[in-house]
C-alpha cells in the first residue's frame, strides 16, 4: 500500500494525528511556561551572567576610552608616545572625577600586583599635570615608563580576556606574553582542585561503606520497624545544615563531648586531647554524616524491591554467603550505588559551609576560595573562572560516568 495509512478523508494518518495533538501540546507547553520562565530568570540568566564575567571585565576599557583607543590603533610593542601619555592623563583625570579610578586600578592590579596605587595617586594629581605629559607622569612615578605596565594596560584595554582562567589554573603571563606557571608562593588553585576531588571521592567512599548495611537493614526489616528506623535517617536530613554542622563542632572540639568522654574514661590524657576539628578530619567527619542520607535513600529504594529468594536460591545451589552477595545481591543494587555515589560526589564537590566552619586551613575546598573571591576580595571574574572550571570538571565526570556505567542505569528513588 503506497503512502501508508490514511484516514477516512484521505489525509495521511501521521499528519492527521499531529494536527489533532497540536492543540493538546500547546496547552501542555502553556502549563510549563511559568516554570521555564522562572528557571530562566532566576537560575540560568544570573548564572550565565556571572560565568560571562570570567572572560569579560570592562573595568579598564569602559573607564579609560582614550588610551584604549590608542592601544587599538597601535600594535603590541609600540613604545608609548606623547599622544599616549596625553590620552592617559585625560582618562585618569576623567576617571578620578567620576570616581571610577579605583575600578581601573583594581583591574590592572589583578594582572600586575602593586599597581593600584599608581592609578589612584595619579588620579589625585591629574588636574595639576601640564604638558609634556610624558615627563609629568614620570615625575609623578617613574613606574609609568615601565614597559611591563604598558603591556598589561594593553592587554586589559580589551574587555575580553582569558587571563582569569590562567590565574585559576595557577598560570600567568610573563613580560613577553608567554604563559608560565605562577610563582611558587602564589600557587593554590590547582592544589585545591585536587584536594576537592580527592576529599569528595573519599567522602563518597565512606558514605557508601556506612550506608550500604544501613540501607540493607532498612530494606529487610518488617515495614513497621524499618519505618521507625527510617525516621532516624530522615530526621537529621530535615534538620538545617547549619545546625548539624554546629552540633558537630560541639562534639569534635578539643574541649568537646568526644574528647571529654575519652579523657573521663582515661583513654587519653588531658594534655593529649585529639584534634578532630579545624583540619581535614573535621571536614571529612561532618560532611560524611551530612551527606549520608543522600546515599542511604537511593540504596534503600533499590534494595527494597529485591526479592530475597534470589539470594536464598544461590545459597541452596551451593554458593557461599560471600559469593551469593557478590554475584547475586550486589549487582542488583548497582543502580542505587551509582545514583547515591553520583549524588554525594557532586554535592561534596560544591560544599562550602561545612568546610568553612570545621575545616580550619587544611580542610578548605575550592568552593571556599570561590566564596572568598565573591565576598571578600570581590574579584568576581576570578570567582567566575574558578566556578566555570569546577562546573566543567563535574560535567566531565558525569560524562565519564555515563560512558562507563550508563546514565540510564541510575535509580534515584
Amino acid at each position: 500500500m503506497r503512502g501508508g495509512l490514511t484516514t477516512a478523508d484521505g489525509k495521511p494518518l501521521k499528519q492527521a494525528l499531529a494536527h489533532a495533538q497540536a492543540r493538546a501540546k500547546r496547552k501542555a507547553l502553556l502549563l510549563v511556561v511559568p516554570l521555564l520562565a522562572f528557571i530562566l530568570i532566576t537560575f540560568v540568566m544570573p548564572i550565565g551572567q556571572l560565568l560571562f564575567r570570567s572572560i569579560h571585565n570592562d573595568g579598564f576599557s569602559a573607564n579609560m576610552p582614550q588610551i584604549s583607543a590608542w592601544f587599538d590603533e597601535t600594535k603590541a610593542g609600540d613604545a608609548p608616545d606623547e599622544a599616549a601619555y596625553a590620552a592617559l592623563v585625560a582618562d585618569i583625570a576623567a576617571a578620578a572625577e567620576a570616581r571610577t579610578i579605583g575600578v581601573v586600578g583594581t583591574r590592572v592590579n589583578y594582572e600586575l600586583s602593586g599597581t593600584r596605587s599608581l592609578f589612584t595617586s595619579a588620579g589625585r594629581n591629574a588636574e595639576d599635570l601640564q604638558p609634556p605629559y610624558r615627563e609629568a607622569m614620570l615625575d609623578l612615578n617613574e613606574k609609568w615608563g615601565d614597559p611591563q605596565l604598558w603591556g598589561v594596560m594593553r592587554s586589559v584595554s580589551s574587555a575580553y580576556s582569558a587571563n582569569f582562567y590562567l590565574a585559576a589554573l595557577d598560570l600567568a603571563r610573563d613580560e613577553n606574553g608567554e604563559i608560565v606557571r605562577a610563582p611558587e608562593d602564589r600557587r593554590i588553585y590547582g592544589m585545591l582542585f585536587m584536594r576537592t576531588l580527592w576529599l569528595s571521592a573519599l567522602i563518597t567512599g565512606l558514605c557508601l561503606i556506612l550506608a550500604y548495611p544501613v540501607a540493607h537493614l532498612l530494606a529487610v526489616l518488617p515495614l513497621a520497624k524499618s519505618n521507625l528506623l527510617m525516621i532516624l535517617v530522615l530526621l537529621p536530613f530535615w534538620t538545617s545544615l547549619l545546625v548539624r554542622t554546629t552540633s558537630w563542632m560541639v562534639m569534635l572540639q578539643e574541649q568537646g563531648v568526644i574528647n571529654n568522654t575519652l579523657v573521663a574514661l582515661g583513654l587519653i590524657g588531658n594534655e593529649s586531647r585529639i584534634q578532630m576539628m579545624y583540619n581535614q578530619a573535621g571536614t571529612i567527619i561532618a560532611m560524611t554524616h551530612i551527606l549520608l542520607p543522600f546515599m542511604i535513600l537511593p540504596l534503600y529504594s533499590v534494595m527494597r524491591p529485591i526479592n530475597p529468594s534470589y539470594v536464598r536460591a544461590a545459597r541452596s545451589l551451593g554458593a557461599t554467603s560471600w559469593t551469593a552477595f557478590r554475584r547475586v545481591y550486589l549487582p542488583q543494587t548497582l543502580p542505587g550505588i551509582g545514583a547515591g555515589a553520583l549524588l554525594v560526589f557532586i554535592l561534596s564537590v560544591g560544599y562550602y559551609i561545612t568546610p568553612a566552619l570545621v575545616g580550619g586551613a587544611s580542610g578548605q575546598l575550592i568552593s571556599n576560595l570561590i566564596a572568598y573571591h565573591m565576598q571578600d576580595s570581590l574579584n568576581w571574574s576570578l570567582a567566575a573562572a574558578l566556578a566555570a572550571l569546577l562546573l566543567a570538571g563535574v560535567l566531565i565526570l558525569y560524562w565519564l560516568y555515563d560512558r562507563l556505567i550508563g546514565i540510564d542505569n541510575l535509580k534515584l528513588g
Binding site: I41, V103, N109, Q253, E254
Partner: protein, 356 residues
Amino acid sequence: MKKILTLSTALTAVGFTAAAQEVTVMSWGGAYTVSQVEAYHKPFTAETGIKVVSVDADNPATPIKAMVEAGNVTIDVADVEYADAIRLCDEGLLEEIDPSILPPAPDGTPATDDFLPGALTDCAVASIVFSTVFAYDTTKFPEGPTSMADFFDLEGFPGKRGMRKGAKANLEMALMADGVPADEVYALLETDEGVAQAFAMLDKIKGDTIWWEAGAQPPQLLADGEVVMTTAYNGRIFAAQVAESKPFAIVWDGQVYEYDLFVIPKGAPNMESALEFVKFSTDTQRLADQAKWISYGPGRKSSGALVGLYQDGVTEMAPHMPTSAENLTNALASSYEFWVDRDSELNERFNAWLAQ
C-alpha cells in the same frame, strides 16, 4: 548586562521595600553592635522617631559592592575599616559626605578640626579607634605573656593560638614579634624580604593556630578553651572581661590600631535618614557615650574629656582604651595607604600560604 542583573535581582527584592521612616545600619555584631545600639540607635530613635534596623556582617564592607552593582542596596549606613572606606570610595561605591554638615564640638570648634587627624575622608566619618591586640587566658598563664614575641613562642607558652584569617594586622604583628620597631614595619613590608620575614614568623605557629573570621569568635574560642591566646579586637575582650567576668588579659605590646568609619553606600534607600544618623551618631556626646559600652576610643578630640566610667558605674574606661598612653608604648597605627594597595595581593599570598 548590568541592566539584566538589576532586573533579575530587583524582581527578587520586590517584597523587601523598606518603610519610609527607617534606617538600616550594618555593623560587626556582638558586643560592638550592642554598644552602637545603646549609644546611637536608641537615642536617635527617641529624638527623631526614625526606626533603626541593625544588621550584622563579618565585615560590612564586603556586601556593599554586590549591592551597588546589582542595583539593590538594602542598607543605608555601614561601619567599615579605613582601607575599605578608601577603596570603596575610589571605586565609586559610596556617597560622598560633606564634612561641613557634621555638628561642631560643644565649644564651637568646627568638625573638621575636632576629629582626630585623618578621621574624615571624602566618603567616610570615623566613629571610633579600635585595636587588634592579643589576649590570653590567665588561668593557663598566671605569669602571662608580656610581649608580642611571646605570642609566637610555642615553647615558652605552649597551646593553641587564634588569629584572624587574613593578612592584615597578622603580618605587622609577626614583624613586631621578630623585633622590628613599629615605625619601620610598613617600610619593611613594602619589600619582598619583609613579607617573607613576616610569613616565616607565622610559619612558626601555623600548625597550632585556629583561624577566626567574625570578631565575636576569639573571645568564644578563649572561653571554650580551644585556644590559650588569640588576637582579637580589644573591645570584644574587654566586654568578656568586664561584662562576663572572664579570666582574660590583654597584652598591649604590639597592638595595631585604626579607625572604624561610617559610610553610606551609593543609592542607599533612605539617604536623608542615613545622613541624619551619621550626623547624630558622630557628635561629641554620642561618641563619648559609645565608650561607656565598649573600650573603643572616640574619633573626636572633644569627646575624650567626656569619657568616664563603664556602664556598670565602677570600671574606669581610660586604661582599657587603645589610645591611652600606657597602652601605646609599642603600638602601630595601621596604614590604610599600605593596605588599600596591597590588600588583594597579600591576601592572595596569605591564602596560598594557608592552604599549603
